[in-house]
């Protein structure tokens, strides 16, 4: 679908609810996102809302999550804002133990934004949600005057069903802590991509939907194996573990040498002086699992393409409540603390 020359950039008229907006929906949004769904009134109806059949209480709980996405640059190594938005919301549902059943997508677009970029972003979004088997059932588009918004912002809301929703706080002494894969990819890839650093690397963001990765584990031991889950996004592994420790009042002890990490991420860490444990991951999960189920859980993760490098990295204890301890590679011990802010490269 090629836009005509008069439609190479988004204009105010595209958001005005009239003819041009209708064309935008017909020619870009619906072909990519408007697949046949189970909704009685779905996206294609372009009604004021969409319907979902009520699940019964026997199905468990509904889980709702929302996120706004402002990543810069919008196209980065390994992904873009579309994939990030879709995966981010799917993953929030996934780490709550909820199967995604519907998403919304709202876009706020700057006047003058290239149509081709919007198409790329929608394509990304569409292919990502297909990986997780979920659809967008309603959405919204607004166009702002040039300068009132920087490029494009996305908001996604996700609805899921959890037979038994999993929090990030139910940690029990003796539980094992698992990571689904290498840590630090997204944050380091975005740092490396910053023009002023003049670095060349093949490192890509790990952005990916992880619902199909974690869902088999939710069935282990009839749902009793996984006690808590969290995705280590902003603030990285360090922030997520500290939040889990504080909410549960427990201590989490991590073995540094067990944390999976790519050589390139280590190299960037040495070069920039920034810890990979404090930067975002967008396709990973932390799972806290009953000790007797840990080996089975690890095995299940490693069968999935996104989980081949999964590892057991730690244990829940009572030694220092609310804190995270790192057993360092050389044999030392220290606290792994909540990071303080956006990491800044250092020379010292």
């Amino acid at each position: 679908m090629m836009p005509s020359s008069s439609e190479t950039r988004i204009t105010q008229l595209h958001g005005a609810g009239g003819e041009l907006m209708g064309q935008l929906l017909d020619r870009l949004i619906l072909p990519k996102l408007g697949g046949a769904g189970t909704e009685r009134i779905g996206l294609r109806a372009l009604d004021d809302g969409a319907t979902i059949a009520c699940p019964s209480t026997a199905d468990g709980e509904l889980v709702l999550t929302t996120d706004s996405h402002v990543v810069k640059p919008i196209f980065f190594p390994g992904g873009d804002i579309g994939r990030l938005a879709a995966a981010g919301t799917i993953n929030d549902l996934a780490v709550m133990g909820a199967q995604p059943i519907a998403l919304t997508l709202a876009a706020i677009i700057e006047e003058g934004f290239p149509f081709a970029n919007l198409e790329r972003i929608i394509d990304s979004f569409a292919s990502t949600i297909e990986e997780a088997g979920v659809q967008v059932i309603c959405g919204d588009t607004k166009v702002m005057p040039a300068g009132d918004v920087d490029g494009i912002l996305l908001n996604t809301t996700g609805l899921g069903i959890a037979p038994h929703a999993v929090s990030d706080a139910d940690l029990r002494s003796g539980d094992r802590v698992l990571l689904t894969g290498p840590i630090g990819d997204h944050g380091m890839a975005l740092l490396a991509a910053r023009e002023e650093f003049r670095l060349t690397t093949r490192l890509k963001s790990d952005v990916a939907p992880i619902w199909t990765l974690v869902s088999p584990l939710l069935k282990l031991r009839d749902g009793a194996a996984v006690h808590a889950m969290k995705d280590p996004t902003r603030g990285g592994l360090a922030a997520a573990l500290n939040e889990m420790a504080r909410k549960s009042g427990k201590c989490i002890e991590i073995t540094e040498s067990a944390i999976p990490m790519r050589t390139t991420v280590r190299g960037l860490s040495d070069l920039l002086g920034i810890s990979p444990l404090e930067v975002a991951n967008e396709g990973k999960a932390i799972l806290v699992v009953a000790a007797e189920a840990a080996a089975d859980a690890l095995h299940a993760l490693q069968q999935h393409p996104l989980g081949v490098d999964a590892e057991i990295v730690g244990t829940v204890t009572d030694e220092y409540p609310n804190r995270v301890i790192l057993d360092t590679e050389v044999g030392g011990r220290r606290f792994l603390d909540m990071p303080l802010g956006d990491p800044v490269p250092r020379i010292c």
Binding site: Y320, D327, E329, G332, R333, R334, D337, L340, V344, C348
Partner: protein, 361 residues
């Protein structure tokens, strides 16, 4: 890092820990290092766990941004407020001057940029007509890079605000302070790559404390500590090189030549410590044309460096640890820092707060 230079295997860690235990001194023994990167490595790897109970390992004035006088920062801000593009290393951005930090000045509209390399300042100057000033901070490891860009056909709109400091005079100054009780120095590895081990012999000749130059891998540091304790046990203090793969006695002649060509030694003030003779670098007269102080009319009075109640002075001179300061972790935290030791990422207080400091785990 290439596997050839990553020294942290636990088996050797245990062997060196055993060596340290065997060399455990009978009485209290204080080792002082002067390198933020050493403190980072010690704390991040949890190395204090390996120290015998009577041995303490403290950071002295090893964080260059922590010891940059507030007035230097004020001068940099004034230059930025005058319209210049002010470039500096990331470590410097959040350190408070007497009123503002560079970060705060930036949010007030000044064009202040973080760079990873002195060469970036030249590149920025080539891409604009505006005045560009490089606020050059750091010790002997970092000063040669400033020298290179000063000599390498600098664009006419580039100038340098130099605030480099020298380590060996600081080591002597600390020993001159009452109550210092310094038993030994763990000398900074990469400063020593540049200056060699000879300056420690010259400066500390009569001081009779062990000086061991250490690297930065976890095993490097344990090894250096073991050598210090061995010297102490044998009562044979001397300058010893524990980082031979990167340091020799003569130093890096190319870098030393650059330093000599561009800088002369000056008496400068260290924040929290005061004036230390011959401890800083300033641009030679021959480089007056790139000296920002000649280009900008900024004459600021020397302001208060340290807020009353803050013990950064004692911490910087290794006579107190962060937890000795009444403000530490209460009014003074990394998010609301009061003194420079808490702001600099390599400041002792900042590191202790974030990584648990000396608390034995």
């Amino acid at each position: 890092m290439s596997p050839s230079f990553h020294f942290s295997d636990p088996k050797r860690g245990k062997a060196l820990a055993d060596a340290i235990r065997i060399l455990s001194p009978p009485g209290p023994f204080k080792i002082v290092h002067v390198c933020g990167t050493h403190e980072m490595a010690i704390t991040r790897n949890g190395l204090r766990r390996f120290l015998p109970e009577k041995v303490t390992l403290l950071e002295g004035p090893g964080c260059p941004v922590c010891v940059t006088p507030a007035s230097d920062i004020d001068t940099a801000i004034a230059i930025a407020q005058a319209g210049a593009i002010l470039c500096t290393y990331g470590d410097m951005i959040r350190v408070p001057g007497s009123k503002l930090s560079l970060d705060e000045a930036r949010s007030q509209g000044c064009d202040i940029r973080t760079i990873l390399s002195a060469a970036d300042a030249t590149a920025i100057a080539r891409e604009t007509d505006r005045e560009v000033v490089f606020f050059a901070v750091g010790f002997e490891t970092t000063a040669p890079m400033t020298a290179v860009i000063a000599l390498d056909d600098p664009p006419p709109n580039l100038s340098l605000l130099v605030s480099h400091k020298l380590i060996p005079p600081a080591l002597v100054a600390l020993l001159d302070l009452p109550d210092n009780r310094i038993g030994a120095y763990l000398a900074p590895g990469h400063v020593s790559t540049i200056i060699g081990t000879k300056p420690y012999e010259t400066w500390l000749d009569s001081r009779l404390v062990p000086v061991v130059v250490g690297g930065f891998e976890p095993l490097d540091i344990l090894y250096a500590i073991a050598l210090i304790l061995r010297q102490h046990r044998d009562d044979l203090p001397k300058v010893e090189n524990a980082y031979t793969r990167a340091v020799d006695r003569e130093g890096n002649s190319a870098a030393l030549k650059l330093l000599d060509e561009v800088f002369e030694v000056a008496d400068v003030a260290w924040r929290g410590i005061g004036a230390i003779p011959s401890s800083g670098l300033r641009l030679r007269q021959t480089l007056a044309h790139v000296n920002a102080l000649n280009r900008f009319d900024v004459d600021l009075p020397a302001e208060q460096d340290i807020i009353p109640g803050c013990r950064c002075s004692d911490i910087l001179t290794a006579r107190a640890v962060p937890s000795d300061c009444p403000l530490f972790a209460k009014r003074c935290t990394p998010l609301s820092p009061i003194g420079p030791c808490m702001v600099g990422a390599e400041g002792a207080c900042s590191i202790w707060f974030r990584y648990g400091g000396e608390r034995p785990l």
